[in-house]
Symmetry: C3
Subunit: 383 residues, 3 copies
């Protein structure tokens, strides 16, 4: 099937003000961040310009991935889309890992899961639900349930090393720590858990791309809009992907390099920055899409983006970072979350499960999800 495509847009004012184009309005922050960094400006300014600069690079990366995927046939294309879907997040985390900011990395993993479930799904359900005369929005329970089961299982797995530490009487990491030296038993356990999760993730790819692909793409023929691409050539797409990857890397390095000093100067803890700010910027462009399609009443896709993205972070990004921590940075990073992270992630997945289980949403559910996100954010702020 040749995907339907629209003409590649010229990056003019009209595109920039369109729902898909706004992230590129933030492009000026890329040179600004680099300039401030080189000039040795105050860390707070460097941090925020880099944070805003990440957004368009991540958006371009998503765009380029979809273009490459569209030219690669459904099998490889699906694999590319899924694997590179969280690439910006992974790149930021890699730089943080190398800088030894392991608690920031773990916070950003949890923040990414929470952000998808509560902030994105909440905003989508609110924005989709307040449309005039729209009482209830419905979505396919079966696909949503597969994703939220994946999420709940992954979270159960992810918290076991923390349970281990807790039962062992060694305590969890404190919020004000940057990196904790765990003993080797919990490092081994965390490594083993990571390997099992990645193996399960691979089984999940076989499931979603091969044996049960209809489940996740039931309306592929009815909804050409979502499959639309900009018709880029393979060459152009690959170059764009490389450029975007490089840009994400540069922004990430600046962002991560300024976290410590920015944390001090603006009075937010590194924990808060990791779990709220870093978690949001890496996903902002993608999240916007989830809200947009909810307004168009495509709740299947919207819920799929929110819950699917969470599940992927839990089952793929998190264990990959554990594996990589054995070769990158100061030492292994076992996935021992702190108490706030455990409580928040646990409450988050319970809520996600309940919300998707109904197969329908209203604006008030959106308000409630956002309210819980605000309350968690307040708790993290006071931590």
């Amino acid at each position: 099937m040749t995907p339907a495509h629209t003409d590649a847009p010229s990056f003019g004012a009209r595109f920039l003000l369109s729902p898909q184009g706004w992230p590129y309005l933030l492009v000026p922050f890329i040179p600004v961040a680099i300039a401030l960094e080189v000039a040795g400006a105050a860390a707070g300014f460097v941090f925020f310009s880099a944070a805003l600069g990440v957004i368009p690079t991540a958006a371009l990366m998503g765009r380029a991935t979809e273009e490459v995927a569209a030219r690669s046939g459904p099998g490889i294309g699906g694999l590319l889309n899924v694997t590179f879907g969280n690439a910006p997040e992974l790149i930021i985390a890699l730089f943080a890992l190398e800088a030894g900011l392991q608690e920031v990395v773990k916070a950003s993993i949890v923040g990414s899961i929470l952000g998808n479930i509560l902030l994105v799904m909440g905003a989508a359900m609110l924005a989709g639900g307040v449309v005039r005369d729209r009482q209830v929005q419905r979505f396919d329970r079966t696909a949503a349930n597969v994703q939220s089961l994946m999420l709940i299982l992954a979270v159960a797995a992810l918290v076991m090393p923390a349970v281990f530490e807790l039962v062992d009487g060694q305590g969890l990491p404190r919020v004000d720590q940057e990196r904790v030296n765990f003993d080797s038993t919990v490092e081994d356990l965390s490594l083993a858990v990571a390997i099992v999760l990645i193996a399960t993730y691979v089984a999940g790819l076989v499931f979603s791309l091969r044996t049960h692909k209809e489940l996740f793409n039931p309306h592929s023929e009815d909804e050409p809009e979502h499959d639309d691409t900009w018709g880029w050539s393979i060459r152009r797409s690959v170059i764009a992907l490389a450029v975007a990857g490089l840009a994400v890397g540069v922004m990430s390095e600046i962002l991560v390099g300024s976290i410590e000093a920015a944390s001090e100067s603006i009075g937010l803890s590194e924990f808060f920055i990791g779990i709220i700010v870093v978690a949001i910027v890496g996903n902002a462009a993608e999240h916007w899409v989830a809200v947009l399609v909810a307004v168009k009443d495509k709740m299947d896709l919207s819920v799929n983006i929110a819950i699917g993205s969470s599940a992927q972070v839990a089952m793929f990004v998190a264990p990959v970072l554990v594996l990589l921590s054995f070769v990158i940075g100061p030492g292994p990073m076992p996935l021992v979350f702190n108490g706030f992270e455990i409580a928040a992630i646990f409450l988050g997945v319970l809520v996600a499960y309940q919300v998707t289980n109904e197969g329908e949403s209203t604006w008030f559910e959106g308000v409630q999800l956002l309210a819980l996100y605000v309350i968690l954010g307040l708790t993290f702020y006071f931590a």
Copy 2:
């Protein structure tokens, strides 16, 4: 729409022995409680006569609220009904707050949520399910799910200050404490959480009284029985409401004033009295209605009363008490629950969610809910 109404009953023997009338059989305990209090009788007697005396005053308050509401049109009427629905509970809690019994207040909040979910819903499902030849009772899943999602979100919010204290290493309140001095950070956090919850509650009123009112009142025309009033005039209703409010206040003051001494003399902890006894008496009349309508196979209404009342305590009564604690009593009361309360409330809402999620009930589900209530009660007793 003029509400259907029956004639105002004369308070004769026939009415007093009817399902709606029995609370008024307890009216004699009102003067008895006052007399015992004035006479300086043993605290245990004062406490129990005041506890029994609360029940008819709360019943009258509920009655008068419905009468006023019926004369105020659906919009204002709904608002009145919802807001005053938990007034007796709130009044008792206010007196306890003023007396500095903050742990009793928190226990009664949790006890009220648990009592609604486990005791009331359990009794309703058991009583409704044992009716001859009745296999399964069904109710509307959608409305029940909205309520139980509200409940789960509110509980998630309510436990965050306790998580904060726990992670911070400051520990939770002990069961034998009457009042704990928390540091100001957790007071600020609790205040912020309360404000977010109240804002969400207001959004919920817009949802249930305005944008989605059909969801909560689908059969309003088929079921005139529930909408029936006694046809009181506005004047009579308002006077009755004022009298009832005053009576609840007097009984509450006596009740609260005798808790400490009664706790010692009868050998029950203040915690147990708060979470079991106080939680039951404030709601007894309303709870009875939930069981009654279940026997009549109106499970929609029964579940709505039980879960809805729980959700309202969590989303409205609890945060309002936090706000009021800044002006009433010895000092702010952050909502830091103790370990029993957290475990019980968490297990309770999980069970509530599961039970309502099915959209049907049997007598054995009722037995199970009651069994869990008994087990929690035993644990609180031994605490």
Copy 3:
């Protein structure tokens, strides 16, 4: 109704290699275990031969129970089937209780619940789901929900004594302990909880065998295969039951007697042996049936075996063992689980609820359940 029956099989090669016959291939391990025990062989060998020897004796016990039940009419028969269903497990636990291995007993209770939910249901869903061209397997949600609600309520009850110890500041048992002397309050609480659970269990028998028996046996006429027996006479069945019971007892005594020494020599903790090994061998034959019927696409029966067996352990086996601990062994065994057990059982029942709630399964759900079992097993191994 006379149950359909096949001829009693001769125990020849053909039977032994059939799906129902393989457990009897392990019969040689019975004399081997006895011989090794008498000869005073190394504990590791004694333990593993006894563990393998338990499997055929438990299989015979199950067989004989079904034969007796089939000849006793539906009422008594159902009661027999349900009550003796977990008899091998109970016998093993009794010997462990007498030997003072209370932590092993508690671990095997939790391990049995987890094994049923994660290992058995996971294997069943995987084996059933990979059958060519089978996309989704469906099962009856209502019956599954009754069971999983029973499970969640029982688990809520079972963890309350641990909550009590935790809140009381006395701490949970450590993994390396064999037996803990708790104070008498928690012993009383645990006794009271056990009595409430057993009363609820009896109510559940009335529910499933009397008032709602259609719910659990909806297709009794369409599926004669499951009801098939080997047509044994009452006399033969009772003798077989007695022989099997005796054999289970002998194997259990050898098994339990070698646990301590085997634990040391093979380097696995008693905790791991209790929660993984002991939990598996007592149920192996029954579990095999659950996988077998899943392949035949009878998911109703498969899920019923897995969840129902878990629920029964939680609601009947566990409280009975608490009661018996007051007369058998060194002293009362309150059900205070350790941290790993609480975390695992809690995550397990949440997952069980979610999986059964959908009323359908795929091979990937099976993989995920197995993955969680592996991760829990790894955590227990490192504990």
